[in-house]
Symmetry: C2
Subunit: 338 residues, 2 copies
Amino acid sequence: MIIDCHGHYTVLPKSHDEWREAQKAAFTAGTQCPPYPDITDADIRETIEANQLRLLKERGADLTIFSPRASAMAPHVGDEAVAIKWAQACNDLIARVVSLYSDTFAGVCMLPQSPEADMTASITELERCVSMGFIGCNLNPDPGGGHFKHPPLTDEFWYPFYEKMVELDVPAMIHVSGSCNPAMHATGAYYIAADTIAFMQLLEGDLFKDFPDLRFIIPHGGGAVPYHWGRYRGLADMLKKPDLGSHLMNNVFFDTCVYHQPGINLLADVIDNKNILFGSEMVGAVRGIDPTTGHYFDDIKRYVDALDITDAERHMIFEGNARRVFPRLDAQLKARGL
Amino acid sequence: MIIDCHGHYTVLPKSHDEWREAQKAAFTAGTQCPPYPDITDADIRETIEANQLRLLKERGADLTIFSPRASAMAPHVGDEAVAIKWAQACNDLIARVVSLYSDTFAGVCMLPQSPEADMTASITELERCVSMGFIGCNLNPDPGGGHFKHPPLTDEFWYPFYEKMVELDVPAMIHVSGSCNPAMHATGAYYIAADTIAFMQLLEGDLFKDFPDLRFIIPHGGGAVPYHWGRYRGLADMLKKPDLGSHLMNNVFFDTCVYHQPGINLLADVIDNKNILFGSEMVGAVRGIDPTTGHYFDDIKRYVDALDITDAERHMIFEGNARRVFPRLDAQLKARGL
């Protein structure tokens, strides 16, 4: 089976988006936020069937690990109470998608990481979502939205959350949200920069000594990391760290959101295939057709199909690694006889 | 001939570094900065011959385009007067290296880009350095040192400086300095992130419509850009920009500071060879030996030698492109009969 580890609910029922605007406006005005709207199953089916479900079927995947729209998570908006309500609303919508299409979607939650707050509310939301059947979370290393003011991921600031992740046996995708920095385009600059920065934070520290069972997925093909794999191996050496295989790569995984064949070839060439999870971020950052191939840029399965690797390796990328990194998904699939 | 477009003076006479510390201490204390020390030619020869000159000869390059130590440029330290004095001292030292080894080094200057200042002092320093024979400059897109608070490179903030660059016919390497952000390691995170962010700033704008003769080198193999070339082609399409070939790639060049063979292979495969300049950043970010090859990570010439390209293409990467991007270097070489 083919599991896409990186999907966001990017085209949403209008009333959900409108409520968000109302929530922001109420915060600014200091007035009461209106109640969350009634969204029918039909509203949800309409958005999902026209977008992710259609494309997933057309392109031949079986299941998408699905989280709220990344660029709209925006935990810096309003205060912590605003962030908590917004995270709950978005995660509840994901839970409804999963309940409507339980064969096809598995839920990953966003967190209410208001920039001034500690991780307490995020722990509460993670517990709530896992109790609803979610299998993982998105963890934002820069909740401020574009100036990288949070402590590195190896700092004890994050430890209470990591303890909960380990207890619940869920991984996190390290994923920033929209950029509020005019110098930093979200999907073209901020995402890729943050992926790269996150990896180097992990390289500089010794986080997985403290949390040997913690698992992170760095999306967008690991940012710049595989392309600069020699630099990172060399920096580990200069910083007197163990080789990357034992220092990081029992705990860090990259997805395949790299939108051309040469990039995917490099990824599979340089990074051990046990660390690569199929992911397309579809419908996401790049929605057009590549004129050099005639196919959608984000039709990633084609690139993985074209890799010169064994069937066993391809199976790991498409399914095996995702089941290992997301044990709760594996258990759900096994319960369904898969 | 083999021209290395990316070298920094990383091992310096001690008294130069000591003066910098004295300059900073004087600024903090509000006292007078001591005079710049007497540095003899022998002091300079000692540092250069033990490091860059030795390695350049051992590895088979002929000429290095040489600028002050990147991580120490730190224009955010002190105020603008401090930044100006420091830039002058560093650039003067580069001028002395070039005068001592005029066959082997060509000068590129740093700029006194104090974060609160406009580009006036940088224009003055560029003019001063070009009058001393410098052939280009380092332009820092984030002079604040790690929070990306400057306007994007396409903003009119930078235009007076670009006008001077075009008038003097010098290119800029887009290169940040040291990081004062504990979440962002300089050579492992900040440099690569800034390269990627800079490219996306250019992609979002239309700078080269206003400055068709402006030329930028994005170092470290273009950050994450070649690995994600499909993403950038797709984003150009989504943002209704021309294809990258005409939108950016008459004006933007990448160096080869990518410390393993698969990365260099990808670079040469994906990016037109007319846009690639040989560069090693030696002695720089990664100084060890790659245990998988037995050679220094930053012995980049080996990787370029191993590329499956024609001799004409290799000549462009090693020499031709550098002479085109740095016309003042080309003129100097021609004057020497080269």
